[in-house]
Symmetry: C2
Subunit: 290 residues, 2 copies
């Protein structure tokens, strides 16, 4: 069994990006600039945005954090998005989700210029990805494909079972793994209404679990030598930790890992790659926009 070290891979890729940015700046080009909009003070969102800002530093990007209180109006948010769309200095930006309930996320996402939508959530980017056209690809699925490639894990013709059909992970992951130029795998998507989920998983060469249920994937669901990618990251209250919680994946790691050829840990597997893909998208957006 080999552990997939997302931290290590993400670090390497961020160094590569940093060197590339250095070359760009030396030859008179523009330093990429990522902006993030954060509404309110949700603990998890604060952490994610702080990590994104830190990753920008590691990559040699400029970053700007724009904060709003919980009660910001949708109009004000949309005005800011318009301003960022028109600001040539900003290459890409994200609006950290979730947003307060009085704001319609869909309207906010669709207001972002698709060429600056480094989260890859805009329908234009989702559609282009589905069609196999160049675009800004949703960060988590892209990070997973990068990990598989890095470890030389063959996916062509393999059976890949994806647990979860979310817009952010499950569906785009399925589309990427299906694409001839990406995964080229046979893809099955399972979800809460799948009747024989264990049997589906037992047939999988590669399992990608993105359902957010701790320890859902148990040893009896995994065949010998399978590759298991765990996208789950549920926060479990834990008084022994300084932050008050520990992260828990979808996979019963201790019992599943011995069966696997490759497996991602939580934390330190997919998580760091998501931010890394966001950095790759920002660099790509910077190249497109200039």
């Amino acid at each position: 069994m080999q552990l997939i070290d997302g931290l290590k891979v993400a670090k390497e890729i961020k160094s590569q990006i940093s060197r590339e940015v250095n070359d760009i700046v030396i030859s008179g080009g523009k330093r990429p600039h990522l902006a993030a909009i954060l509404v309110g003070h949700d603990g998890a969102s604060e952490t994610y945005v702080a990590n994104k800002v830190k990753a920008c530093e590691e990559c040699g990007f400029e970053s700007t954090l724009i904060r709003y209180e919980e009660n910001v109006s949708q109009e004000e948010l949309l005005e800011k998005i318009q301003e960022l769309n028109n600001n040539c200095d900003i290459d890409g930006f994200i609006v950290q989700l979730p947003l307060p309930s009085h704001i319609t996320e869909r309207i906010v996402i669709e207001a972002i210029n698709p060429n600056k939508d480094v989260d890859g959530f805009h329908p234009v980017n989702v559609g282009k990805m589905a069609l196999g056209l160049p675009c800004l690809i949703s960060a988590t699925p892209n990070g997973i494909v990068t990990l598989l490639k890095y470890y030389g894990i063959s996916t062509k013709g393999k059976k890949c079972v994806i647990l979860g059909r979310s817009n952010i992970v499950g569906k785009p992951m399925a589309l990427l793994m299906l694409q001839k130029s990406m995964g080229d795998a046979t893809v099955t998507i399972c979800h809460s209404h799948t009747s024989n989920l264990k049997e589906e998983c037992r047939q999988a060469d590669i399992i990608v679990s993105a359902i957010g249920q701790p320890h859902f994937v148990t040893a009896d669901m995994v065949k010998e030598d399978a590759v298991v990618i765990d996208v789950g990251f549920t926060r479990i209250p834990d008084s022994t930790k300084k932050c008050g919680y520990h992260l828990c994946g979808d996979v019963d790691f201790d019992n599943v890992a011995p069966l696997c050829s490759f497996i991602t840990p939580v934390p330190g597997g997919v998580g760091p790659m998501t931010i890394c893909s966001l950095m790759q998208n920002t660099l790509q957006a910077s190249k497109i926009n200039h």
Copy 2:
């Protein structure tokens, strides 16, 4: 075994549309208007476009056929698309594919106003469909879902195996069958690189075949009481037919049909429903645009 009669269902839906159009016109509303651009004189394309024009008549739509010779420039085509985008009288339009090799289909499709893209091929519509948002849905997959609903075929939690990963059928079909509000099925997508295709098919409650290989789906691939939807329509030269060919589906119908609970014939199954969905999209576009 019950035969799924696409001709009958399409006829019923077109009558419903015709009655609705009548009501709209009587109450002072606008009669929907579909335009079609046809480049060159390909036999199959001529037939499809003629059938679409005929369906418009049956639905009480206005229709306009715009013809270009094979050597039309891409610029001229794009100018016409711009004109149709800006023409308030045109509710929706299609550019019949394939186009001559000197024209880039992707550029042509992306030039169409997504609100008039009644084929549902524009990345915005594909993306919105993937995300489960209201949009103009690609005609063939939508027609298949309509057929399944009409015959009361339950799909929730069922195993649906899709053969083929084309942008026009396989991928959008997978996304629709997966959607909670549509198929809500467990979906597997197989293709040319799938290693154990027969075994995948044998597990399917519903098979949708869209690969264009006559008689590819044989009896040993279909489990008892499966539902088989045949999207194939290969033209086989046939001197006994007036038109010089007969249509052949992907399914070895004679041997597969006895095993099935439901099966679509070719012709007369999915084909009529594709045009019918195009009419539904045109009516929908007309409502959105006015």
